[in-house]
C-alpha cells in the first residue's frame, strides 16, 4: 500500500485494516445480485483480489491462482450492512454487563463518541457475521438527552480495530422519547434542537481555546454539531408521527445543508411524497405495525413499500443482538409490497448510501471492498442461510459461540461432564 493511499485513507477518517493480505478468491456460477445498474446476473463470477472486488460479470476466465468457491445454484450478494445497531457496545443489556450502549449519566450529549467504546471481542461479531452481515452502523442507544451522539461504522471481519469510520453519523431522537428527555414536550424539544443548531452555526467560525468566552452548550457538544450543520456528517432523526416528520422537513428548510435520514418513521407512509421530495432516506422496521404509542397509530406492514413507491431510499435493520434478522424483516416488507430488489437494497446499497459509503460498500463491482456473501438460496427466505462469508477479502469461518454451544450439546450421550467436550 503506497504512502499516498494511506494518507488519503487517514484523511478520510478510515482505519487501515490490520487483517492479513487476503488470498485471491473466485466465486463462480452463482446468481449474483450486484446491487448496481448491472442488476442481477445468472451464472456469474465475482473475483476478489487484494481485499477488493476486482471483477464481476459473466464469462470471466479464472486463472489458476484463485481459490474457487463454487456458487452454482446459490445466490451471491454484497455483505449485508446492519443499518442501525449498538453492536460492539453491548454484550448483555438487561441486568447484565459489558454495556456501553447506555450513557444515561453522561454530561455530554451530541459529542458522545461510540468509536472509543466499540470492541471486536463481542460475541455478537461472529454471531452476526455468520448470518451474512459484514458491517454495521453502531451508536449509543440510551442517553439523557435527545441526542444519542456520534456513531461509527464497524466491520465484522477479523480486525483488531474494527471501526472503519469513526464519527460517521449523529443521532437525534425527536419522537415521544426524545420529547421526554427535553422536559416532556415537543414544545420544548424543537426549540432546544433549533437552539443547538443555531449555536453550531455561531460556533463554526470560532477557534475554541480554554480562554474562549462561550456561554452556550458544552463546547464538545457544539463542536460535534458543526459537521452535522454543514451536511458533512449524516444526521439520523428518530421520528414516528406524521406531524413530527413534517417538523423534520421544516427543519431541513431552515438548515438546508442537513443530510437527514429518518429512523423508525412508523407513520412515514402518510407523508411519503414529502419525504421523497425532501430527499430523506428512511431506516425502518417494516414489521412494526402496532400503535405502540399514539404517535404510531397508523403503523402498517405496507410502510416500506409505500415509501419506496414515493421514491424514498429505504433501509431495513434496527436491532443489535438480532440485527441478523433484518433479512427476515426485509422479506416481510417484500411480502407486503416492497419490490424484491428494493428489499435486497434495504440491506446493502440503501444503507451504504445513507452513510456515504456507496463507493466502497453495498454493491458488487470492481474496486469495492470485498465484503461478499454466498447464500444457499434467496437471502430473504427464512429457510436459507450463508454458505460463505467474505469480509474485506478474507473468508471467515461460519463459527460462533452459539455454534460451539450447539456442537457441544448436539449429542447428550457422553460419559464425561460436558465441560470436557470442546467442539
Amino acid at each position: 500500500m503506497n504512502k499516498t493511499l494511506i494518507a488519503s485513507i487517514i484523511a478520510a477518517g478510515l482505519t487501515v485494516s490490520t487483517g492479513a493480505m487476503a488470498e485471491k478468491i473466485a466465486i463462480v456460477g452463482g446468481k449474483v445480485h450486484t446491487m448496481t445498474s448491472t442488476g442481477t446476473l445468472n451464472n456469474a463470477t465475482v473475483l476478489i483480489e487484494d481485499n477488493k472486488i476486482s471483477k464481476v460479470g459473466k464469462d470471466i476466465t479464472v486463472s489458476g491462482d484463485y481459490r474457487v468457491i463454487d456458487a452454482k445454484g446459490k445466490v451471491v450478494t454484497p455483505g449485508l450492512m446492519g443499518a442501525f445497531t449498538s453492536l460492539g457496545l453491548v454484550e448483555v443489556p438487561s441486568y447484565g454487563s459489558g454495556v456501553d450502549a447506555n450513557a444515561g449519566k453522561a454530561t455530554i450529549s451530541a459529542a458522545l463518541d461510540a468509536s472509543y467504546a466499540i470492541t471486536p471481542d463481542t460475541s455478537l461479531r461472529n454471531i452476526t457475521r455468520i448470518e451474512g452481515f459484514t458491517s454495521v452502523a453502531s451508536a449509543v442507544s440510551q442517553t439523557a438527552t435527545m441526542f444519542k451522539g456520534q456513531g461509527a461504522i464497524v466491520t465484522l471481519g477479523n480486525d483488531e480495530t474494527p471501526v472503519t469510520k469513526a464519527r460517521a453519523f449523529m443521532v437525534v431522537d425527536v419522537s415521544e422519547h426524545g420529547a421526554e428527555k427535553a422536559g416532556g414536550s415537543r414544545a420544548a424539544l424543537w426549540v432546544e434542537l433549533r437552539d443547538a443548531l443555531n449555536q453550531a452555526e455561531y460556533a463554526k467560525n470560532i477557534r475554541f481555546t480554554p480562554q474562549t468566552e462561550w456561554h452556550g452548550m458544552p463546547v464538545a457538544d457544539v463542536k460535534a454539531l458543526i459537521p452535522v450543520l454543514k451536511g458533512e456528517m449524516p444526521l439520523l432523526v428518530i421520528a414516528h408521527r406524521a406531524t413530527d416528520i413534517r417538523q423534520v422537513i421544516a427543519l431541513k428548510k431552515e438548515f438546508s445543508a442537513l443530510d437527514i435520514t429518518l429512523v423508525g418513521a412508523a407513520e412515514g407512509w402518510r407523508v411519503a411524497d414529502d419525504i421523497g421530495k425532501a430527499g430523506f432516506s428512511v431506516i425502518l422496521n417494516p414489521e412494526s405495525n402496532l400503535p405502540y404509542s399514539f404517535e404510531q397509530n397508523a403503523a402498517t406492514l405496507a410502510n416500506a413499500g409505500r415509501l419506496n413507491e414515493a421514491g424514498v431510499n429505504v433501509a431495513i435493520g434496527m436491532n443489535t443482538h438480532n440485527i441478523r434478522l433484518a433479512t427476515q424483516n426485509a422479506g416481510n416488507a417484500v411480502a407486503n409490497g416492497l419490490p424484491y430488489q428494493a428489499g435486497l437494497a434495504a440491506l446493502t446499497s440503501s444503507v451504504a448510501k445513507i452513510y456515504g459509503l456507496e463507493d466502497s460498500h453495498g454493491s458488487l463491482k470492481a474496486g469495492m471492498t470485498a465484503d461478499v456473501v454466498v447464500w444457499s438460496g434467496d437471502p430473504l427466505e427464512v429457510m436459507h442461510a450463508p454458505t460463505n462469508v467474505i469480509i474485506n477479502g478474507e473468508e471467515v469461518k461460519l463459527e460462533s459461540r452459539q455454534t460451539k454451544l450447539r456442537d457441544r450439546y448436539l449429542s447428550l450421550k457422553s460419559d464425561k461432564p460436558v465441560q470436557y467436550t470442546r467442539p
Binding site: T300, A335, E381
Partner: protein
Amino acid sequence: MINKTLNKALFTGVSLLALATLAGCGEAENKDSKEQDALVEINKNPFPSTYKPLPSETTLITNVTLLDGVGGQMENASILLENGKITAVGTDISAPDGAKTIDGEGKWVTPGIVDAHSHLGVYATPDAHAHADGNEMTKPVTAAVWAEHSIWPQDPGFRRALAGGVTSMQILPGSANLVGGRSVTVKNLPNRTIQDMKFPDAPYGLKMACGENPKRVYGKKGGPMTRMGNVAGYRQAWIDAQAYKEQWEKYYDDYDAGKNPKAPKRDLANDTLAGVLDGDILVHMHCYRADEMVVMIDVMKEFNYQIASFQHGVEAYKIADKLAENNICSAMWADWWGFKMEAYDGIRENIPMVEQAGACAIVHSDSDQGIQRLNQEAAKALSDGQRAGIDISKAQAWTWLSANPAKSLGIFEQTGSLEVGKNADVVLWSADPFSTYAQAELVYIDGGLAFDRNNPGSWAVSDFELGQAGEGDQK
C-alpha cells in the same frame, strides 16, 4: 342439603353404597348433634365462557398441500368444514349440497396456530402505563390473581395475530413473580368481554417464574434476592397449599362422615395452588437456564405436581433428555438470545434439538410481533436443525405450532390438528408457510371465517383503532 351431599359424593367418586354406610355411621355417631349446615363448595368456574363461534357455512377447500399438525403431509388434499367441525380430510371428498368450495391450488392448509405464550390484552397497545396489567408486582407469590381480569379485548394485537393464522392462545401473567397467577386460554376472536373469548372447557394454567426476574424485582423489596431465595419461595408456597388442601379434604371427609364441621376460610391464592396439586390447573413455568429447570423438576417431584411446560427454555437443548423423561414441554423462541444473562446461551438449534431428544417442542411468541409470524419462527428453527444434521420434516415441524401447544394447554381434544371431529380452526396459506412470502389468506375459527386477506372490507377493527389514522388499513 341431601342433594349437596350427593353431589359431593358423586364429585369425589364415593360410591352410593359407601355414602349410605357413611350416612349410617354419621347418624349413629352424631345422634345428639345438630343437623348439618349447608355444605360449602368452591365454584371452580365463576367467570364462565360466553364464547360463540362466528356464523359459518359448510366449506370445502380443495387441491391443497395439507399439513395435519400431527406429523402428516398430504398432497392434492381437501378438507371439509361443517357446523364448526372438521368432518372430512382426504384426497377424494365431494362437496355436500350448498357447500362453498374453494380451489386452493398451489396453496397450503394447516391447523390454526396455537400460541402457548401471549400477553395480548394484559400488556395491550398502546403501550401506556395504564395498560401495564400483566405483573402484580406487589409480592412474590400472587397465585390469587387471574390474567383474565386484566385482559383488554380491544387490544389491536389480537387482530394482527389473526392475520398470522393464530386461532387460539394462552394469555399469561408476566414473570416478575415466583407465582404470577392464573393464565387463561382464549379463542382469537375478540368481542366485548373476555368471557366472550374464553376457550370453552379449557383448563386453567398457572404462571410461575424462575431466575432473574423475581430476584430483580424483589431483591430490594423484602426478597427473594437470590435464586436460592426463589426456590425457598416456591417450596413454602407449596407447603402452604398442601396444608390448605388437607384442611378442605378433612372438612369434606368430616362432612361426609355426618359431622357438622366448620368450612376452612377460603384463600384465593391457595385455591389456585391446590388446584395444581389436584391436577386441575396446569403449570407453565418461565425458566431459561438448564440447571434451574432441573431444580424445578425436583421441586415438582417433591410436591407431586406436574409442570406442563417450561416457557422460553432458552437452554432446553442442554437438558432435552430430562425434559423428555419428565414429560415436560418446552415453549421456545427460534432465535432470541442475549438480552439478559440467562438468555446468553440461546442457540438457533434449540427447538430442533429438543425435538430430536423426543421431548415436546413448542414455538411460542411472548411477543405481539412474533405472534404474527410464528410459521416463520418454525421455519427458521426447522432449517437451522436441518443444517445441523437433524432430520425433521415440515409436517413434523408444524406440530410445534399446533398439536404440541394444544397438548400443553389441555385443549388437544378440541383443536391443534386437522382430524375429523376437531374444531374447524383452519388456515389457508397463500403458499408454503415455511416461506417468508407466504401469508395467511383465510383463517377459520370453529368454521367461521375470521379473516379474509383479500377482502379488506371484512377485516375486524378494534374499538381503539376506530376513528384513528390508519383505521382499517393493511396491518
